[in-house]
Point group: C2
């Protein structure tokens, strides 16, 4: 049996030093003091803005998917649409914008399904998930260097795509969980 542990005492951040600006994220070094031990330690921190992803359903109940090159894995991945929220932009607007830019599908209302921390160990930012129903096809207008293949599958098929390892993006899997929940 374990001895009872005292409640967690908060850490305090006592210093923050910028190390690297990588455009879509910045790396900082934090110095933080433990509330329990009083000792200070250094931690690396990745600062990034909010992200958004979109469960977009056609009138026929099909889920909109995108396949595109991802420079982290250096390969293409199958995902739901999404991207970065612009400075000052409402996440719901960002969801409708990213959906339209990446896929051409247009929706009217973005219903919030919740949000997650992509990686609370290193990052503070959030990824917001929205449901957009009854989307209608239109012309996509990706960035010049974005090469995106759009497809739809019956929503019920999404779980199978995760199980088969065709959808591997944690934030997409989390979005599907939020949809079910």
């Amino acid at each position: 049996m374990e001895a009872p542990r005292p409640p967690l005492l908060p850490f305090v951040t006592v210093a923050r030093e910028p190390l690297l600006d990588a455009r879509v994220f910045r790396v900082e070094r934090l110095r933080r003091r433990s509330g329990r031990t009083g000792r200070e330690h250094e931690y690396f921190h990745i600062a990034a803005g909010s992200w958004v992803n979109v469960v977009a359903l056609t009138k026929a109940g099909e889920l909109v998917l995108v396949r595109q090159e991802r420079h982290g894995v250096e390969a293409t991945t199958l995902e739901i649409p999404g991207g970065m929220v612009d400075e000052g932009e409402d996440p719901a607007q960002a969801a409708l914008r990213e959906l339209s830019e990446e896929t051409g599908y247009v929706g009217r209302v973005a219903e919030p399904l919740g949000w997650v921390h992509p990686n609370p160990a290193l990052q503070a930012n959030r990824c917001y998930t929205f449901l957009v129903r009854d989307v209608e096809a239109g012309p996509a207008h990706p960035d010049e260097e974005e090469d995106i293949e759009v497809s739809t599958v019956p929503l019920a098929h999404a779980r199978e795509l995760v199980r088969r390892g065709e959808i591997t993006h944690a934030l997409v899997v989390a979005a599907l969980y939020l949809l079910d929940a």
Copy 2:
């Protein structure tokens, strides 16, 4: 209606430059050539080892949770146990090791539930999820600076914790999806 788009052509990575070593991750700059346009662009890349997380169930069907300070969000978070796979370590062994170190709960068999890419846009690494059944309580042995509060909840309650925003870690939400799938 959209004109048919040509199939995606692979990108090729033509250069890779280390920028920053942050112990638990490294930042690199990649130069990659588009297969479609032939043009080269630079992308930032976060290199990290494999991660693992664990759905650990007691004989009574309770899910083991940990609350600990996370220096990304600069606050405590409620999560399932997990961590980094050591160099050369089998992910299943890492799952049992992290479970025991962080919580004291001991399990015998780690059943793979699948894996996800934590962030394919920036990172290539994988997070492997394991199910460990019939875990038994024992003494925890966290790192000296790790201050971890262990609790259990009925597995059926996990979805409510996500819905209420008490569990916010995308990789934990993804693990719960993989469990359901």
